[in-house]
């Protein structure tokens, strides 16, 4: 099986700490269920040991900005 996280199309995925998450949710005034989702079995998460309910921080190389940080909630 190839390591998906090594592919150019795959941005960096990391698990978000609770504290940081609170800040983000406060800033946008949203619940964690409002975040976009990501499946627990998504290939880049294989190495990460994630659980359903965790939030993943994704750092994209943006086309319009320098870097774009987005969050996805782990489901199922």
């Amino acid at each position: 099986m190839v390591d998906a996280s090594q592919h150019n199309l795959v941005p960096e995925h990391t698990i978000v700490e609770e504290e940081e998450l609170e800040e983000v949710l406060d800033e946008y005034n949203i619940d964690r269920t409002d975040l976009p989702k990501i499946k627990r079995r998504d290939p880049p998460l294989r190495e990460l040991d994630v659980e359903v309910g965790d939030v993943i921080r994704i750092e994209r190389d943006s086309r319009t900005a320098d870097r774009a940080v987005v969050y996805r909630l782990v489901i199922e």
Partner: protein, 416 residues
């Protein structure tokens, strides 16, 4: 000294990195080095930038739909022709765009762009230790591991009705070419014979190095023809789904050098299998099937591919001035649930919470009927429902409450 001051001015602005870099570039090109002019330019750019940002409550989705839709009307309905790269037939134009937003399970013309791992090339060249063995030969090794090799490509198949035998005369040159790492023709022939034995459940004989003969267990004409039919379907080497591979020498992505490398374009795709092949660069190889990308690399890569593919499709049609942000929004919506969802009745539009919004889109009666049967409640949160019932929508000025007039205690102060 002046350069430093300009840097202070530019870095102190609210502009994103890209615009800052562009600003440096322009200032440099115009030869502006006094701080005052630079500040003026910076302020003008900043004002334009803040001006063009999306306001709160702007209907970005509607703007995107129109911005993609209008140029879409100019797209040719049927464009099936050979695309820029390597005479491989690729669906383009409107059919391709529809296929992408519909998130079809397989595209009409699946293809992959396979990059060769430079380290592997070097390794193989060192191992062969032969002046005649070039980079191209290494690339061909990989080609033959990808392209499906069937019997008709390898030699002639004839039937001998008198002896009830199928006879395969293999072409030695082809064998050499397609099994570059195997020593002798006899070995390759043996390998092919073995494959035939296991797939067709017959016993084979090899009268000489490049000939294989076999027949049905019970002599029967139908059995013989049946064997030939089945023989044609066997894939001896490569991947079933890939019918053709085209090899091209291209500039590497590094713009600073003139280095060239081999890139393989395939007709048909099997992304997972290709990534596992030794010598394939698993960090740059891509394919045009968003579902295959999703399975192998995840949602984020799928999102990226949707943007790339839609943008390329538009650019190919001369519609490259569609802002990438619109396509990014589409891709964001399609990958929002963690899987790929199509736009339209079976996807995003069909999963809306509001009955009225769904009914307003397509198959109106079915939605209303189902909603009635299940006793659905419409909360009238969205735009469409509120237009239908004639209430102000929650967008733009519709979602802010302004009160005219002034409070008594500030009355005296408000001179303007």
């Amino acid at each position: 000294m002046a350069a430093n001051d300009i840097q202070v001015v530019v870095e102190g602005s609210d502009l994103p990195r890209r615009l800052k870099d562009k600003l440096y570039e322009t200032l440099d090109a115009k030869g502006i080095d006094d701080v005052e002019t630079a500040t003026d330019v910076k302020e003008a750019v900043e004002e334009r930038y803040l001006d063009t940002r999306v306001d709160p409550l702007d209907p970005v989705g509607t703007v995107s739909a129109q911005s993609i839709g209008e140029p879409g009307t100019q797209m040719t309905m049927n464009t099936f022709h050979y695309a820029g790269v390597a005479e491989i037939d690729v669906t383009q134009g409107l059919p391709r765009l529809i296929e992408l937003v519909d998130a079809r399970k397989t595209p009409d013309t699946p293809m992959m762009t396979v990059h060769v791992d430079p380290e592997f090339v070097q390794e193989r060249l060192d191992a062969e230790n032969d002046d005649g063995y070039t980079e191209r030969d290494v690339a061909h090794e990989i080609v033959w591991q990808i392209e499906a090799t069937r019997i008709l490509a390898l030699g002639d198949v004839s039937t001998n009705v008198a002896d009830m035998l199928v006879r395969i005369d293999l072409n030695e040159e082809t064998l050499d070419e397609r099994w570059p790492t195997v020593g002798t023709t006899a070995e390759v022939t043996a390998e092919i014979a073995e494959t035939i034995e296991s797939k067709l459940d017959v016993s084979t004989v090899e009268p000489d190095d490049a000939t294989i003969e076999f027949g049905p267990e019970e002599p029967s004409y139908r059995g013989l023809l049946q064997l030939v039919e089945e023989l044609r379907e066997i894939v001896f080497k490569g991947i079933d789904d890939v019918s053709r591979v085209v090899i091209r020498k291209e500039q590497t992505e590094d713009p600073d050098t003139d280095d060239e490398e081999f890139v393989l374009y395939t007709e048909g795709s099997a992304f997972g299998k290709v990534l596992d092949i030794d010598g394939v660069d698993a960090s740059r190889t891509t394919c045009n099937n968003i579902h295959e990308i999703y399975r192998q690399l995840g949602v984020e890569a799928a999102r990226e591919t949707i943007i790339n593919e839609t943008m390329n499709t538009l650019e190919e049609q001369g519609l490259g001035d569609v802002n990438i942000r619109h396509l990014m929004l589409v891709a964001d919506m399609m990958t929002n649930p963690g899987t790929i969802e199509s736009i339209g009745r079976h996807g995003i539009s069909g999963n809306k919470d509001s009955v009225l919004a769904r009914a307003a889109f397509e198959v109106t009666v079915n939605h209303l009927l189902d909603a009635a049967i299940h006793g659905e409640v419409d909360d009238l949160d969205g735009v469409t429902e509120n237009v239908i019932v004639g209430k102000p929508i929650k967008l733009g000025t519709g979602d802010v409450t302004l009160r005219m007039g002034s409070r008594p205690d500030t009355e005296s102060e408000s001179a303007d």
